[in-house]
Amino acid sequence: MARVRTGVRAMGAVLAAVLGVSLMGCSSTGGKRAEERAAEEAAVGRSAVNTPRWTFAMVTHSGDGDTFWDIVKKGAEQAAAKDNINFLYMHNDEGQQQAELVQTAIDKKVDGLIVSLAKPDSMKTVVAKAVKAGIPVITVNSGSAESERFGALTHIGQDESIAGEAVGDELNARGRKKVLCVLHEQGNVGHEQRCAGAKKTFDGTLRNLYVDGTNMPDVQASIEAKLDSDKSIDAVVTLGAPFAAAAVKAKRTAGSKAEIDTFDLNASVAAGLADKTLGFSVDQQPYLQGYEAVDLLWLHRFNQNVLGGGRPVLTGPQVVTADDAEELAQYTNRGTR
């Protein structure tokens, strides 16, 4: 009995200590409280229409815990709240699994479907089936070439070639001569298009570097090795926000003077732009892809509206630099940019 009591007492003491420390050691910056304040400031979504509560499903090729798709989802949810939509989100990075998820959405007889076509061939049959079942389909993010052929209403996303060309132009404007384009998913068609687009408009030389995107230390080591072996590289372009951070570290250890530029935006990229560790970022506005997809489906259901006239509706590229960074920081912090 005595031993039990000492145990309880010891545990109580530990608890008290933890509580005490956490109360005394309040952080005046960041953390959950700051986030809650930001959330309060952001408009809280509330249904603005009294159309029937339709169900829309979004099925993407995102892997688990992908920051980019989280922002797409936030946009979609915000629009769904406003449009009185029951919004379902599903994802799988395997083509066959993604197709099966679309099939479950068809089984559920949803009123609208949003899909990404990163692996168009796996999705062809099942999208056709949805269209045949009378479900309006909107494609987002990837698949601008296939969208119309598959019978989708509209495609909302960025044209990867055009985005790449914008990078080439920006690099010219910044007077760069020798650039490294870092691809983190070997053979991802969209990634190849980005680097190819940049190569097209860029006046200097641009080389591709393939890295294993699921292994961050490897990404850093590969870039570092490349910067070490060629000191004349004066810019590195990464194709995703998390890889820019790895490139910055690689640059530091390699003692290189190269400018790091990137595709996509997140809080740390915004901070990097502000303190000039990053040159510029090409944003394709994922929030917009989710928001517009849901909104356009609603418009189609409500009013038979279609946008784009059979051509993709572009959400990017928007080139973001240090000038925009400060203003963007609050949005990246709440996870909507």
Binding site: D64, L88, Y89, M90, H91, E94, G95, Q96, A99, E100, L101, Q103, T104, I106, D107, K108, K109, K119, D121, S122, K124, T125, Q186, G187, N188, V189, E192
Partner: protein, 350 residues
């Protein structure tokens, strides 16, 4: 049979000759627990998810189960034989890539590619079995090596030959439509769409069960998995049995691979990683012991059904996908615990 006081032996009769009632026999089967688990999962989702019971959903769930089940049957046999195959998931993709690329590059009839792929895939299986029996290293290491090599080969070869990560389309080639009928057609009954993989699955499970229960090879599998040394001592050809089991997995990988190819007509080279674990999970839920020597092919099929129902049921129930893996794990754990509990009760009463 040895539990004291559990059987009433009539005076003077030999307890070994005692007739067991069909119910008792049923209780002794390794898949009984998993059947109870499957019923529980079914009832759960029928209550929780509205669209789970719709007829069109049945086709979807069965299809999901069949793609796992085709592989789970030979994987279960392999596990009863005391070995693992971590390369099974990627081998499916390899098999699809081989037939697609061979047909395209040689501009051959698609069926030629399909049979070349059968030979190549059986070659992978034979490689696994041969290296395993020759080196006597654990199958975990051997097939992990094969897994990584195949992953690299898939990407490397595809990039080398077609320049991108996916193969070129073979949908317009001769023999495609007949091959599609065999590997990826479907039958519509009312508004239920039944894929041909369900037939392949049923056939493979029947074949595996027949081998396991009715043939000498089946006895060898149990013997090898129980105690390879003892099996060898009584004259069981251990090496031949193990190579045969790996060939079985390779054959099923070929069937799944061809399904993948002919349902989409192009193949992504990076797919299949991680699926090997799903097959093993299905076999384990179905009552196969990880240590070997015990299990059944029907159990593996029921395991695949549980996996299919759970993974699709969660979607039908509209649960937050962020928690998907957690729900999947929890459901599988509960189904398996129920399975183990039922088996224990069954063993206590026989």
């Amino acid at each position: 049979m040895t539990a004291p006081g559990s059987t009433a032996v009539p005076d003077g009769a030999d307890e070994r000759l005692l007739r067991t009632s069909p119910l008792r026999k049923l209780l002794g089967r390794p898949e009984l627990g998993s059947v109870v688990g499957a019923v529980a999962v079914f009832v759960f989702f029928a209550l929780v998810a509205d669209s789970f019971l719709e007829t069109s959903s049945i086709g979807t769930v069965l299809y999901a189960a069949s793609t796992i089940g085709i592989m789970a049957a030979p994987v279960a046999l392999l596990m009863i034989g005391g070995e693992f195959d971590l390369s099974a998931g990627v081998m499916v993709t390899s098999s699809a890539l081989v037939s697609s690329m061979f047909s395209y590059q040689m501009t051959a009839n698609v069926w030629v590619g399909v049979f070349v792929s059968l030979l190549v895939t059986l070659g992978f299986g034979a490689f696994n079995g041969f290296v395993l029996t020759r080196t006597r290293l654990p199958s975990f290491i051997i097939t992990l090596g094969t897994f990584l090599m195949l992953t690299g080969l898939n990407l490397g070869f595809t990039k080398l030959i077609s320049g991108t990560v996916s193969t070129k389309t073979i949908g317009d080639m001769e023999g495609f439509s007949s091959a599609r009928k065999v590997f990826a057609s479907y039958l519509t009954l009312g508004n239920v769409e039944l894929k041909v993989t369900i037939l392949w699955w049923a056939a493979l499970v029947a074949l595996a069960t027949w081998i396991l229960i009715r043939t000498r090879f089946g006895n060898w599998i149990f013997a090898v998995g129980g105690d390879a040394g003892a099996a060898r001592a009584v004259g069981v050809p251990v090496i031949r049995t193990k190579i045969g089991l790996y060939l079985g997995v390779a054959f099923a990988a070929w069937v799944s691979g061809q399904h993948l190819l002919f349902s989409y007509d192009v193949v992504q080279s990076g797919e299949g990683v991680g699926n090997e674990l799903t097959y093993i999970i299905a076999a384990v839920i179905g009552g196969c012991l990880i240590t070997g020597g015990y299990g059944s092919a029907i159990g593996a099929a029921v395991g695949a059904v549980i996996f299919g129902m759970t993974s699709k049921g969660i979607v039908y129930a509209e649960w937050d996908p962020d928690w998907f893996k957690f729900f999947l794990g929890a459901m599988l754990l509960l189904a398996t615990l129920l399975n183990a509990w039922v088996r224990k009760r069954a063993e206590a009463t026989t």
